[in-house]
C-alpha cells in the first residue's frame, strides 16, 4: 500500500488528537453532570417519599384502615407510584402489578428489617428510583419514582456533547490541514525552484530573507545550486576550450588537405590514393567535431524566433538537391512556428541526411498539426527501423545496422542524437515508426507556441 503523504498524516494526527481530547472532555462532563443531577434527584425524591410515608403512616394509624383508600389520598404526581406492603400483602392505588415486580427483593429485605433504602431500578417504563420506608407494625411503604425526565435530559446532553466532539474533531482536522500546508509551503517553493533549475534556469534561488527557521534549508539549497551552476559553467568552458583546441588543428588539416586535393594530378598513384584518404577523413573529422560541439551546447535553451517552416523545409530540400514538392503542408496549417531557426534547420537536415544514408532517399516531408501538437515527418522507403532499435538510434554513436554491416559508416553517428537533443530543448519529442507501405517514418512533435 502506498504510504500516505505528510499532509494527510498531519491532518489525521490533528483530527485524532482533537477527537481524543473532546471525547474525554465529553465523557467526563457527561458523567459529572449525571452524578450531580442524579444525586439532587435522589435527595428530592427521598424527601417527597418521607413526606408521603408520614401521611400514609397517619392514615394507617386508625383501626382497620382501608390501605388502598389511604394510598389514594396521597397527593402524588403521575411520575410517582406508591405501594404499601402490610403483613405480606401488597396494596396499590390502582391495579398495577408492574410496580411490585419492579421492587428488588434485596430492597424489600432491607426495608423489612426496618431500614430505609433507595435503589435505582429498571422498570417496564424506563429508569426509576425505588425508595422503601419502613412504617412499623410489619408495614412498608414503597415509592417508585420515575427517572424518565432525567433520562431525557441526559440523552439531550449526550447528543449535544457528541456533536461538540465531532465538531472539535473536524476543526482539528481542518487546523491540521491548514498547519501542514503552511509548514509545507516553503517546501513547495523549494520544489518550484528545483523545477526551474532542472528546466535550465540556473539563476533560480531561494529567498534567504524569509523565515529564519528555514535559513539552513535555503542556504544549503542555494549553495547547491551555486555549485551546480559553477560545474555546468566549468563544463561549458571545457567544451569551449576543447572546441577551440580541436578547431585550430582541423583548420590546418582542412587547408592542407585542400592543397593535396588540388595537386592530386601531380602525385603518383599511391600517394594520390593516400591523399584522397586524408582528404575524405579530414572532411569526416570536421563533421564529427562540428556535431560534437553542437551536442555539447545542445542543452542550452533555444533562441526562438518566428520561422516560416515551410519555406525553411523547401530551402533545406533544395540545398540537398531534393525536389521542392517533397514538402507537403496540412491545408490551412499556419506554418510560422516559434523555434530556433538554426536548430530546427539542423533537425530537418539531419533527418533528411539520415533518410538518404540509411533509407535510400527521403520520399516525403510533411508539416502540420494534429491534436494540438505541431509535427514534422520525414519518410523514406528503406528497410525501416526494427522495433528493438527504435530507442537506441537516438543515442550517440549508434548507426544503422545495415550501414555498419557493410562498413559504410560515413555518418558521424551523432545526427539523430542531435535531432533528439534539439527537439527536447524545444519541449518536444521525436520517434520513429513504420511507414505504411514500407520504410521508416521519423516524426517530430512540438508543443504549441506559448504566446
Amino acid at each position: 500500500m502506498r504510504r500516505a503523504g505528510l499532509r494527510t498524516r498531519v491532518t489525521a494526527g490533528f483530527a485524532a488528537g482533537a477527537l481524543a481530547i473532546s471525547a474525554a472532555v465529553a465523557l467526563l462532563s457527561y458523567d459529572l453532570t449525571r452524578r450531580t443531577l442524579l444525586a439532587g434527584r435522589e435527595r428530592s425524591a427521598t424527601r417527597a417519599a418521607f413526606f408521603d410515608a408520614n401521611v400514609a403512616r397517619a392514615g394507617l394509624a386508625a383501626d382497620n384502615p382501608d390501605v388502598v383508600e389511604v394510598l389514594r389520598n396521597l397527593d402524588i404526581g403521575s411520575t410517582r407510584r406508591a405501594v404499601v406492603r402490610r403483613n405480606g400483602q401488597w396494596y396499590a392505588r390502582n391495579a398495577d402489578a408492574g410496580v411490585t415486580a419492579a421492587i428488588p427483593a434485596a430492597l424489600q429485605q432491607r426495608v423489612g428489617n426496618n431500614q430505609f433504602a433507595v435503589q435505582r431500578v429498571h422498570t417496564d417504563t424506563g429508569m426509576a428510583l425505588a425508595i422503601g420506608i419502613p412504617l412499623g407494625d410489619g408495614t412498608q411503604f414503597y415509592v417508585l419514582d420515575s427517572l424518565d425526565e432525567l433520562d431525557q435530559t441526559m440523552r439531550v446532553l449526550s447528543l449535544v456533547l457528541t456533536l461538540v466532539a465531532a465538531g472539535t474533531t473536524a476543526a482539528g482536522a481542518a487546523l491540521g490541514a491548514y498547519a501542514s500546508r503552511r509548514v509545507l509551503r516553503p517546501l513547495t517553493t523549494v520544489a518550484e525552484a528545483a523545477r526551474d533549475i532542472s528546466a535550465g534556469d540556473l539563476n533560480a534561488r531561494l529567498d534567504t530573507a524569509g523565515d529564519p527557521d528555514l535559513k539552513q534549508l535555503t542556504t544549503s539549497f542555494n549553495d547547491m545550486v551555486d555549485q551546480l551552476a559553477n560545474r555546468i559553467e566549468r563544463d561549458r568552458r571545457f567544451a569551449a576550450d576543447v572546441s577551440h583546441e580541436l578547431r585550430s588543428p582541423l583548420q590546418t588539416l582542412a587547408a592542407a588537405a585542400s592543397v593535396l586535393h588540388h595537386r592530386r594530378d601531380q602525385l603518383d598513384d599511391r600517394t594520390a590514393r593516400a591523399a584522397d584518404l586524408v582528404t575524405d577523413e579530414v572532411g569526416r573529422f570536421q563533421a564529427l567535431v562540428t556535431d560534437l560541439l553542437e551536442l555539447a551546447r545542445a542543452d542550452q535553451p533555444p533562441e526562438r524566433s518566428p520561422v516560416d517552416v515551410a519555406e525553411l523545409a523547401r530551402r533545406v530540400c533544395h540545398s540537398r538537391h531534393l525536389p521542392d514538392d517533397l514538402v507537403t503542408i496540412t491545408p490551412d496549417h499556419q506554418t510560422t512556428w516559434l523555434v530556433d531557426p538554426r536548430r530546427f534547420e539542423q533537425v530537418l537536415a539531419n533527418l533528411l541526411d539520415n533518410a538518404a544514408r540509411y533509407g535510400g532517399a527521403p520520399v516525403a516531408v510533411r508539416l502540420g498539426s494534429a491534436s494540438g501538437l505541431r509535427y514534422l515527418e520525414v519518410d523514406d522507403e528503406g528497410p525501416g527501423v526494427p522495433p528493438q532499435d527504435r530507442q537506441a538510434i537516438f543515442d550517440r554513436f549508434v548507426r544503422g545496422r545495415t550501414a555498419s554491416a557493410r562498413g559504410e559508416a560515413d555518418g558521424t553517428g551523432l545526427g539523430l542524437a542531435l535531432v533528439a537533443q534539439h527537439v527536447n530543448a524545444h519541449g518536444g519529442r521525436v520517434f520513429v515508426t513504420d511507414r505504411p507501405g514500407g520504410g521508416a517514418r521519423f516524426r517530430v512533435e512540438l508543443p504549441p507556441d506559448t504566446p
Binding site: 583548420q251 590546418t252 582542412a254 587547408a255 567535431v289 533562441e303 518566428p306 533544395h318 538554426r342
Partner: protein, 224 residues
C-alpha cells in the same frame, strides 16, 4: 589577380591557408599579429582580409574596427568561436561575414567570390532613390542624408540597395542572405547585425527606426 590578407596568429593555420588560397589562384599574404596585418594593409592593400578573433596584442575586434577606419575593404572573420555573442560582436565590429573554423577551402573561396561581386559600382548618371531625408544612388554607390554623405561598407550598401529597390516590400532574412551574401542558406544573425549597423548610420533614432523597420516574423523593409 585577387589578393587576400590572412591575419592569424597560429603559424600552421596561417601557412596552410596561404598555401591553399594560392592554390586556388589568389595572391595571399600572411600576418601573425593585428599590428603586422594593419601595417601590411596600409603598405599593400589586399582586396579581402581574413581575421582571427583571438590575436596577441590588438585583438580581432580592434583590428576590424581599425581596418574599417581606413576603408571599406571586405573583412571576413575566421574564428574558432561559435557562440552567438562572439559572432554578433565580430559582425558589430564591422566584419562582412563570419566563418567558424574549421572552414572548408571550397566554402571559403565561395564566400570570397561573393564578396568580390559585392563591389561598389561607380556610374555617374544614376537614378536617385529617395526615402525622406535619405538619398540613395545605387549606381553611384552613394548614400546621403540631408545632403551629407554617409560612409557605408560594401555589404551595408548592398543591403540598403536591395531594400531600397523593393521599397515598401518586406524581404525575409533568407531572401536578404541570398541576394546580398549569396548564401543558399545561412546564418540570419548576419542580416540582423548588418541591419543594426545600417540603422546606426541612417536613422535618427536607431532604437526606434523610421526607415528600416522590422516586420515581426517576416523580415525587414525600407520605407519613407
Amino acid at each position: 589577380m585577387a589578393s587576400v590578407l590572412v591575419i592569424e596568429d597560429d603559424d600552421r593555420i596561417r601557412s596552410s591557408l596561404v598555401l591553399a588560397l594560392e592554390d586556388e589562384g589568389y595572391t595571399a599574404y600572411g600576418a601573425a599579429t593585428a599590428e603586422d596585418g594593419l601595417a601590411h594593409q596600409q603598405a599593400q592593400p589586399a582586396d579581402t582580409v581574413l581575421v582571427d578573433l583571438m590575436l596577441p596584442g590588438l585583438d580581432g575586434y580592434e583590428c576590424i574596427r581599425e581596418l574599417r577606419r581606413h576603408d571599406d575593404v571586405p573583412v571576413v572573420v575566421v574564428s574558432a568561436r561559435s557562440d552567438t555573442h562572439d559572432i554578433v560582436a565580430g559582425l558589430e565590429a564591422g566584419a562582412d561575414d563570419y566563418l567558424v573554423k574549421p572552414v572548408a577551402i571550397k566554402e571559403l573561396t565561395a564566400r570570397l567570390r561573393a564578396l568580390r561581386r559585392r563591389t561598389r559600382p561607380t556610374g555617374q548618371a544614376a537614378p536617385t532613390l529617395s526615402f525622406g531625408d535619405l538619398q540613395i544612388r545605387p549606381l553611384a554607390g552613394e548614400v546621403t542624408r540631408n545632403g551629407a554623405r554617409i560612409a557605408l561598407t560594401r555589404t551595408e550598401f548592398r543591403l540598403l540597395c536591395e531594400l531600397a529597390q523593393h521599397a515598401g516590400l518586406v524581404l525575409s532574412r533568407q531572401q536578404l542572405l541570398e541576394r546580398v551574401w549569396e548564401y543558399e542558406y545561412g546564418d540570419e544573425r548576419l542580416v540582423d547585425v548588418h541591419v543594426g549597423r545600417l540603422r546606426a548610420k541612417i536613422e535618427d533614432e536607431p532604437g526606434n527606426p523610421r526607415h528600416l523597420v522590422t516586420v515581426r516574423g517576416l523580415g525587414y523593409k525600407l520605407q519613407r
